[in-house]
């Protein structure tokens, strides 16, 4: 394309070049995406202003949430959001990387194609469908077959593995793990594919088995990209609302155990915003949304730049 643009300049004198109005117009229309992003943050900040002014930084460390006395602190919700997302990553990353390894290089192309489609369909299922399934199927099952056995065994000595319940931080993490799996495995697959063929062939030529090649050569060179995929999945998990709201139990406190009910930033907003009256209460809820969006923005931009710089390196190497 650069060659196309350069050609007329070489033939015609510069004065006769027509200004590219299409570039200006379509560029202005494309501005919708960045403009919306900025406006979202600005408007949420403006709407949250009463709470921001009233509580200052104490909002982030306060643990009380009481609309009657107008005391609002975000710490339990921040804790719940971070804890569910990290626990979901712990569950999903090993599985997601295994899927990516299989999808990237194992077996027949047709089998891989079908597997790939199935994983992508997993990403297409709406959050609320995961929610109703988790509420009626996954959470009761996990309560009976994961939470109770673990807490019977370890709950006596380890406090954060006691008090099993069907609506719990753990079950919310379990649904989240299912929901971020497609993001993880799709991006990790691309990263693993981008590992130069020569590396794999050299390892095999030196007599490495499939596993030695994968574990000592492929995965280490894809490490940064898999990390990027993990951070991107973290961004998805932090902002996930509906499915989490349906199973987390919605209790505004830092839970004593991962099997206890908790709350996340997004689910507090989802549950309480329509009932919030006065000025401080809705503003505090919007400030929760502001905290959420700023955290996900930072996480996402970091992950995108990471993944982008890696795929750039890979295409230069190829």
């Amino acid at each position: 394309m650069a060659a196309v643009e350069a050609a007329p300049a070489a033939i015609l004198p510069p004065a006769r070049r027509v200004p590219d109005r299409f570039r200006t117009v379509s560029g202005a229309i494309a501005a919708a995406a960045p403009v919306i992003l900025v406006v979202i943050v600005v408007i949420l900040f403006q709407q949250a202003a009463p709470a921001v002014k009233h509580f200052g930084l104490g909002f982030l460390t306060g643990t009380d949430w009481n609309p009657v006395t107008d005391t609002f602190g975000a710490l339990p919700a921040i804790f719940g959001t971070v804890a569910t997302s990290l626990l979901a990553l712990v569950i999903a990353v090993p599985v997601g990387v295994a899927v990516a390894v299989v999808l990237a290089e194992q077996g027949q192309a047709s089998v891989r194609g079908i597997l790939g489609i199935a994983i992508e369909l997993l990403a297409a299922i709406p959050s609320v469908v995961y929610g109703i399934w988790a509420l009626y199927v996954l959470a009761p099952w996990s309560f009976q077959h994961i939470e109770i056995p673990i807490s019977d065994r370890f709950g006596g000595s380890i406090g954060w593995l006691s008090q099993p319940g069907a609506r719990s931080l753990f079950n919310a993490s379990l649904v989240l793990a299912v929901m971020i799996l497609p993001t993880l495995s799709a991006i990790s697959r691309e990263v693993i594919r981008a590992v130069p063929r020569g590396l794999r062939e050299s390892a095999v030529a030196l007599g490495s088995t499939w596993w030695e090649t994968t574990w000592r050569v492929i995965l280490p060179s894809a490490r940064a990209g898999i990390f990027g995929a993990t951070i991107l999945a973290l961004g998805r998990a932090l902002g996930e609302t509906i499915a989490v709201t349906m199973v987390i139990g919605n209790r505004y406190a830092i839970p004593p155990s991962i099997f206890s009910p908790a709350y996340t930033l997004a689910s507090v907003i989802a549950n309480e915003f329509n009932e919030a009256t006065g000025t401080l209460y809705p503003a505090a809820l919007i400030e929760l949304g502001l905290v959420l969006i700023l955290v996900t923005l930072v996480v996402n931009i970091f992950a995108l730049l990471l993944v982008r710089s890696i795929s750039g390196e890979a295409s230069r190497a190829a």
Binding site: I29, A31, P126, L138
Partner: protein, 284 residues
């Protein structure tokens, strides 16, 4: 045991572990589909399910007609806003890929895709609901349009980038202005890919609940006026599933089935269209 035999055995064993984990990853898909179909089918098989609207607990013959029509209107309005802007934006990003502004648009789109949908709902609430003091379908569709826009931009970009340079160069060589090359030459060749993007965006928007909670709010009545509060399928699943009434819970499963068929159907169709695009681009 011989060291090499052990190494080969370990390799096969690990390969087995990888396959087992892949199967574990697919179990949720199977289970979700199984439960949605088996629990939703009995509700869906009642003809009133598609023709009637909300009936309170104890009144037989309730349905989700209001939610289906609501989802259609909400997503339709959102598409009218997001798809034209997204297509033009996507053409810009692909045609002027070297512009620094294009890479900003690309980054902003990718970030917007990952923005929590509940925050977009709050934004649409502040932007549309607060000034008019009224929940409305329009507010809901604004929120959905913001969700759809980055998807349309990125898939259009991908489809346009697939078109060989030869086509663009022939148009320019014939003296066509840039806008005619992009709109009348490149875009028609990229149509299947662009449709794929639009379909994926529609599928995503149809399934979203969080952005509608404070904008379109939900409604128990059948109504088609987008300036009023409006029901949608995902809202139905969310609201009914949390109620203590068995008949409404059953309807929640039914609505979930309709939603899954809709979303997965659109996804599979878009995949088929995309395959045609790749074949078409290969012929150019």
């Amino acid at each position: 045991m011989n060291r090499n035999v052990r190494r080969r055995f370990a390799s096969t064993a690990w390969l087995g572990v990888m396959y087992v984990l892949t199967v574990i990853a697919l179990i949720p898909l199977g289970l979700v589909l199984w439960f949605v179909v088996t629990r939703g089918l009995p509700s869906v098989l009642h003809p009133e399910f598609f023709t009637n609207s909300f009936r309170p607990f104890g009144v037989p013959g309730g349905g989700v007609a209001h939610a289906i029509v609501g989802t259609g209107i909400l997503v339709g309005l959102a598409s009218l806003m997001a798809i034209p802007i997204g297509i033009l934006g996507g053409i810009y990003v692909a045609e002027y890929a070297a512009d620094p502004w294009a890479s900003w648009v690309r980054l902003a789109s990718d970030v917007l895709v990952g923005t929590p949908s509940i925050a977009i709902g709050l934004f649409a609430y502040a932007l549309v609901v607060v000034p008019v003091h009224h929940f409305s379908g329009i507010a809901g569709s604004v929120a959905l349009a913001i969700l759809m826009l980055p998807i349309v931009i990125r898939t259009t970009e991908g489809a346009v980038a697939l078109i060989p340079h030869g086509l663009r160069e022939s148009g320019l060589a014939l003296g066509l202005p840039r806008w005619r090359v992009s709109i009348q030459l490149i875009l028609p060749a990229a149509v299947p890919g662009v449709i794929t993007g639009a379909l994926l965006a529609v599928a995503r928007a149809s399934g979203e609940t969080a952005p509608l909670l404070f904008t379109s709010l939900g409604n128990t009545l059948f109504q088609v006026n987008p300036t009023q509060a409006m029901q949608a399928l995902p809202l139905t699943v969310y609201q009914y599933a949390l109620l203590p009434y068995k008949s409404l819970q059953d309807q929640a499963w039914g609505a979930a089935l309709v939603l899954v068929v809709l979303v997965l159907g659109i996804n599979l169709i878009s995949r088929w269209v995309l395959r045609r695009q790749i074949r078409l681009a290969g012929q150019l």
